[in-house]
Amino acid sequence: MKPMNVKIQILEPDYLRMQIKEDPHTIFNLLRVLALEEEGVKLAGYARDRTFEDSVMFQIRTDGSVDPRDAIVNAARKAIELTEQFKEAFEDTYL
């Protein structure tokens, strides 16, 4: 498994903006929804910043009580947990 090509564009105590060379909607819509559920996150969103290639600009802003770096990693870990739960439930039903 290759690490994704991530580039940090802005890093502040309460704000993080990065560019990722990856298909935007598959993973980052899920991360956006889960990041918004994290405590202290005021904004989380993504945009396609290149029209003809796989690239996504993701940004997250917190109220200052949480580090945006932790918030996004927590959201990703939560997404992994959810997928594992889904897979387990699916296998219990079908396999």
Binding site: M4, I10, T26, R32, L34, I80, E84, F90, T93, Y94
Partner: protein, 294 residues
């Protein structure tokens, strides 16, 4: 999270309800299945002889769309093949041949079953896919090279023919209200059963409802309400036959986990890089910043 099985029309279809989920998650699964679950399809065709009415390109395109059995795990991805470095070899490609000739008196229809693979595990999953019609005294000889690919590259590598999800319908009918038969008939999916004695509606096939709201529009205001519950999602997919349909969902889950882990890794590498070399971050003027102003 809980998965409940629903009856499906055939063994290549799955329909299930997932409870305790949300649309963004099911959409990720849907997109991964469409774009990232690999299957085998014909990608290159070498025409040896073709004096039929069809152009080579037409035939090659049709061959590409025939689903081939892809339930094997010892064929490499051509791009990542360590034997040939992406040129194409026996470890990453499979050759299929087709030889058809018609005599002086009658024509013939060529079906997918005429494609013979160099590996006996790679074969068209449906025998009766018509490829083309040949007139008399014509000849078609070709060699087709199949390889693993993903739907992101071309739709012929998608493992599913159809896939989708919808919210769980919640229909409430005002008790004691009288309805005309038109309301029950307005539903294109026959969700309601009309009781002529009491002039009332009963729910018959709740899960068939596709939230079209036709019953709400054709009845009196507030007598019926239809809503979708986004925490319960009805998910359905139909395999092309290339992969067993259950494997498609489990592979997609694995790929989603891989993708998220590779994001975490890439993100941590990027943070290290930003810490070591702050100038690597782009200078962005204030008007470019999007966000909530404090």
């Amino acid at each position: 999270m809980d998965v409940r099985q629903l009856p499906a029309a055939n063994h290549q279809m799955l329909k299930f309800i997932v409870t305790g989920t949300f649309p963004a998650f099911m959409n990720s699964i849907r997109r991964i299945i469409l774009g990232s679950v690999p299957t085998i399809a014909i990608d290159e065709v070498i025409m040896v002889e073709n004096n039929t009415a069809m152009f080579d390109e037409y035939i090659a395109h049709r061959l590409g769309l025939i689903p081939l059995n892809s339930d094997i795990d010892d064929l490499n991805f051509m791009d990542a093949c360590d034997v040939c470095d992406g040129v194409g070899c026996n470890s990453c490609t499979v050759t299929l041949t087709l030889t058809q000739e018609t005599d002086q008196t009658s024509g013939a229809i060529i079906y997918s079953r005429e494609l013979l693979g160099s590996d006996h595990r790679i074969y068209p999953v449906v025998d009766e896919v018509p490829i083309m019609k040949m007139d008399k005294d014509q000849r078609l000889i070709l060699e087709a090279i199949a390889r693993f690919g993903t739907g992101k590259e071309h739709a012929k590598w998608q493992p599913v023919g159809s896939i989708g999800y919808q919210y769980m319908p919640i229909i409430s009918i005002r008790p004691g209200h009288t309805f005309t038969k038109d309301v029950a008939d307005s539903c294109p999916r026959n969700v309601f059963e009309y009781d002529e004695n009491n002039q009332s509606l009963n729910l018959r096939n709740l899960l068939d409802c596709n939230l079209c709201m036709e019953c709400v529009h054709s009845s009196e205001e507030d007598s019926i309400s239809v809503e979708g519950d986004s925490s319960q999602i009805i998910f359905m997919l139909e395999s092309t036959g290339a992969l067993p349909v259950e494997n498609i969902v489990t592979t997609a889950s694995d790929l989603l986990i891989d993708g998220l882990q590779s994001f975490i890794e890439g993100f941590q590498l990027a943070l290290e890089k930003a810490d070591n070399d702050p100038s690597s971050m782009r200078k962005i003027s204030s008007f470019e910043r999007i966000g909530i102003n404090d």
